[in-house]
């Protein structure tokens, strides 16, 4: 039964098959050359001795050992985890709350949307350098300028090892939150009005409606966003690169930034280690990735 149905559905037609693969060709070639092959090669070459960008001899786990025994490896791993944790503490809930508020508000709704979206429009590098100057340790920086107006001593901001990661995360939240907010906003639109009305008839106040109508409808996307944020912040690299250079004293060096240093700033000595570190990051993140897909499937099946 299954078989006949399948045969009816997919009649084999050579012409169609060829046309389809011709149209697919650019995608397959590009993904092969720039995604699949480099991924496999990266894993393979991580076991090889590299001389700058030339592959030399097989060297087993040497690259891995060198990466893991680097005196700064554990601090860097810890920094990366700190980035993730701070980004969850500072940046996870605001986009959701702002989306809910914009959804409820009737005054200046569009105005709020446009203005809050401004940080997302500024090119990343320009925004990072803007914040680099806002955090400037003397009074030319905006934050210290404001502090001096209320009579507080200027702070070191990004030069302060205990603040530097928080500072970068505050910037990233500022830059990224409008995009996430729009995502939440879009799925708020699909929460049915009837449910709210039914809740009103049952005598539920605004907070209860939020808890019993909005929350269940949004849970799925919130959870997905949580995993997505963990995965993306774990790979943070451009921000330390442009804003702190990994400093002060490595206090803002993430694993990915270290990978960049190995790969492109080590005079060609660290390219093997760069790929080994890439594999390590990959292995850490694969757990979250599998969880993400499992979750995604589960949520879609429910719909």
């Amino acid at each position: 039964m299954m078989n006949t149905r399948k045969k009816l559905k997919r009649k084999f037609n050579l012409r169609d098959e060829i046309d389809a693969w011709v149209l697919l060709l650019p995608m397959v070639v590009i993904l092969y050359l720039f995604v699949w092959r480099p991924t496999v090669m990266g894993a393979a070459w991580s076991f090889f001795d590299m001389k700058a960008y030339t592959v030399k001899d097989f060297c087993g786990f040497d690259n891995y050992i060198r990466v893991m025994t680097h005196t700064q490896f554990l601090p860097m791993l810890l920094n990366t985890v700190k980035y993730v944790l701070w980004s969850l503490v500072i940046g996870f809930l605001p986009p959701l709350f702002i989306a809910i508020m914009i959804n409820e508000v009737i005054h200046f709704k569009n105005g709020f949307k446009v203005i809050i979206y401004v940080p997302a429009v500024i090119p990343g590098i320009a925004a990072m350098l803007m914040w680099y100057f806002m955090y400037y340790p003397d009074q030319t920086g905006l934050l210290n300028m404001i502090l001096s107006k209320i009579g507080v001593e200027p702070k070191q901001w990004l030069n302060d090892p205990s603040f530097t990661i928080v500072g970068i995360i505050i910037y990233s939240t500022w830059k990224g939150f409008a995009g996430t907010m729009l995502l939440y906003y879009a799925s708020l639109q699909s929460v049915s009005v009837e449910l709210y009305e039914a809740a009103i008839i049952d005598g539920a106040g605004p907070l209860r409606r939020l808890g019993y109508v909005t929350r269940p409808a949004m849970e799925g996307i919130i959870l997905l966003q949580l995993v997505r944020q963990i995965i993306s912040v774990f790979q943070i690299m451009e921000q330390p690169l442009a804003m702190t250079g990994g400093g002060p004293n490595g206090a803002s060096t993430s694993l990915s930034y270290q990978l960049y240093q190995y790969g492109f700033n080590s005079g060609g000595k660290g390219t093997g280690q760069a790929m080994a570190l890439g594999v390590i990051i990959f292995l850490i993140l694969i757990v979250f990735t599998i969880f993400y897909f499992w979750l995604n499937r589960k949520i879609e099946d429910r719909c």
Partner: protein
Amino acid sequence: MKRIDAKQTGMLARTDLKTAYGKTIYGIFLLILSVTALIAVVPAIWTILTAFKETQEIYAAFSFFPKNITWDKAVIRLVESWNSLQLGKSFVNTLVLSVGNLGFHVIVCGFGGYVLSKLKPRGTKLLFTLVVWTMMMPSQIRMVPNYISWLHFPFASDIGYGFNLLDTFWPMWLGAGADTFAVLLFKNAFDSLSNSYVEAAKLDGCTNYGVFFKIMLPLAMPVIIFQSINILSAAWSDFFTPLLVLDELTVVPLSVYRLKEDTSIQMNTYFMALVFASIPPFIIFAIFQKRILGGVNIGGVKG
């Protein structure tokens, strides 16, 4: 208060807005949104204002607003900064880069998404699974191998032949095609178009290519426009790949990043560079504001 009557029932309903409790919540929402909007724009406004300050003013006055600014002075600052920053060439280059990115993106990802959605040749399932998994792979693992494949395109080994793509736009152009997320976006867009278009056109004797170019592509225009906006904005922000690849040939984000090290550039002029770099994305935003904030229903990754 006609607008209150138009309030869609959500967490707050029309009736709530007439009670003191509901009004308080609504007021708090407006307040929080206003503060958020302020936080969103103040850094940008500060950057613009600082760009128009005079050099001595930045290092002496430490005020938010420029003192005794006049229209003439502002124009002089603009012209002088533009001349000393010499960004003209970068702007032209970035334009070329963005147009190329756009072309590769639409051709590679659009074709791919279409085939995965409608033509479905043998092997589609496997390919689709690969594409979905690729989407979540951390790019770190292939950073160095990719660089090697740009050095020795396309074989990624120095066996004597291959092209050196460094200091050309090809790495970015080809990279714009390797966007699996966009493939899925296009696939979803084509999924939402009825199969009967394809069947009807084929009965009328249209070839597979004819169906794609004459019927499906025009129907998918909204997504293509949405993607084009994203690609154009991304091209004006992409700084990491150009940092690795470009040298003589430079683009705006890279120039802005390099100017940070240039001690002959004063702070106000540097801020003007940040402003200049942000102008093109803001023009795009101004034109397509509705579409960007409306978003596209991206959906999931179900097969």
